[in-house]
Amino acid sequence: MKVLQNGIGEMLQPPDLNAFRAWNRAKPKGLIDKRVSEAEAVERFIKDGDYIGTELYGTVRCPQSLVNEIVRQGKKDLRVAGQGVYELDILLASGLVKALDHTYIGMEVYGISHALRREVESGRVTCVEWSNAGIAWRFKAAAMGVPFIPVRSMLGTDTLKYSAAKVVEDPFTGDPIALLPALILDVGLIHVHRADQYGNAQIDGISGFAFEMARASKRLLISAEEIVDTELIRSQPDRTIIPYYLTDAVIHAPFGSHPGEMAYVYERDEPHIKAWVEASKTPETAAVYLDKYIHNLHDHAEYLALIGQERLDQLKDMVPR
């Protein structure tokens, strides 16, 4: 089984499955009340230089209240699994990112990310390239507890050349196939529809890559629109996508995805997103935005107060019933 090609990208987070096993063994398995504030969760579980990831992405079911708290506390030199929109744009504009396992950072229909351009073109942020599924597959490998996963994406392209993947000869067929290294996060951040105090979580609608990322994270912070009684979890165990033992902290975060949407609960705040797209065009205007919506506020409650109950109600009412 020959190695045909080695990606030249840096392995930002080398996979050590045996260390991951030892870490997981030591995690508490009892039913413990894990509810904390955003401030406490970020303070206790995220360190400068950590490798973090956010799910789903910045305008859809995004752990935005946690991302805002990371910016507020100025956790820096972060390495980030880079598939995102608004949330990663905010981190980049705040100068907290050192390196990206990059697949897509942009503003979707609003085009390219100005923060990404500034940070990468200036050399302040380095990028290792992957495809969207490539990043999710790397989480899947970690979630399976194996060091790599075979895929047929990325082959023949510069995306693979500038990644840390390898191309090998499949020992069963002799054909070339890509092997992507497992990606184990120091911290995973996932926003869900509901969770109980122990960290059992449910998601409604598409689940993005929450299943894989939750299982690929050494520390897992779950923010939830709603905290529910464990009896609800036990009454429909097949709805549990994240079992409690994976979870380190549970944060009650109503409208936690704002300005992003939450399927069935509230719509995205389009004017707010557009406002950021405008503000992000220069460091100065971005700084004004970040001060107004993050630094000048103590917590998510003050953020929601600033957005205003009237607007939040509108976003709820926009959801088709």
Binding site: T103, G106, C127, G134, T159, G208, A210
Partner: protein, 255 residues
């Protein structure tokens, strides 16, 4: 030239929607592909199954999704799963069409959406592959939607983000990509192009209404093959425009 009854986006959308057959599956990306897919469903392809990257399968595209993961992408869908279920479904060969875009395309349909200039020292850092590389690797037939110009249609892209035919015939298979897959059409504001079955190089098939073959050649930065008979793509019909404006994009988000 007199004022046309449609705008450039409307032309692109109608052209792309006509490319898709009924009873097949299409991997739908943000923007114009969504409108093309929705229009096709309402015109000639009621059984076109829309597949969205982050988990929506078989959604009813009543309202226009603004993002591939948002709730409209699984509105009354037949299934709502996750990104890997979708891409693995494509990897298993279930997805016929995929839509792609990029800042640069070369004669073999290789696309660049990663960087202008050197990767280590970029002139312009672009958004990156996203799902593009996955779509270009696994879908049977990919359709690139571009705006036509010398700086976009180049002999060599700065960075191959998404695989076209790579260096030419047999190159995809040699790289381990699934046999029989690859670029199918390029839809632009000036023309519709395909690929020569033997050389796998881009070939002009249709010009857009009022556009000459010479114009297309002029706006293309590499030697474009020309089909024996280049036809003119019919302009958007009144029915296409009515559905597009009144049903598909009521809020005029794109058109």
């Amino acid at each position: 030239m007199t004022e046309l009854p449609y705008n450039p986006n409307e032309l692109l959308i109608c052209t792309a929607s006509r490319v898709m057959e009924d009873g097949t599956t299409a991997f739908i990306g943000t923007g114009i592909p969504m409108l093309a897919g929705a229009l096709a469903q309402k015109m000639h392809a009621p059984n076109l199954v829309s597949i969205f990257e982050f988990g929506g399968t078989g959604a009813i595209l009543e309202d226009l999704p603004l993002a591939v993961g948002e709730r409209r992408s699984f509105h009354r869908a037949l299934a709502a799963s996750g990104i890997l279920d979708i891409v693995e479904t494509a990897q298993r060969g279930f997805v016929e069409y995929g839509f792609l875009g990029g800042a640069q395309i070369d004669p073999y349909g290789n696309l660049n959406s990663t960087v202008i200039g050197d990767h280590a020292n970029p002139k312009v850092r672009l958004p990156g592959s996203g799902g593009g590389n996955d779509v270009g690797s696994h879908c049977w037939r990919t359709i690139a939607i571009m705006s036509h110009g010398k700086r976009r249609f180049v002999e060599k892209v700065d960075f191959i983000t998404t695989p076209g035919y790579l260096s030419g015939p047999g190159a995809r298979e040699a790289a381990g990509l699934p046999p029989g897959t690859g670029p199918y059409r390029v839809v632009t504001n000036l023309a519709v192009m395909g690929y020569h079955p033997d050389s796998k190089r881009m070939i002009l098939l249709q010009t857009q209404p009022g556009v000459s073959v010479d114009q297309v050649i002029e706006e293309t930065g590499f030697e474009l093959l020309i089909a024996d008979q280049v036809t003119e793509n019919p302009p958007p019909t009144a029915e296409e425009l009515r559905i597009l404006r009144e049903e598909v994009d009521r809020d005029k988000f794109y058109i």
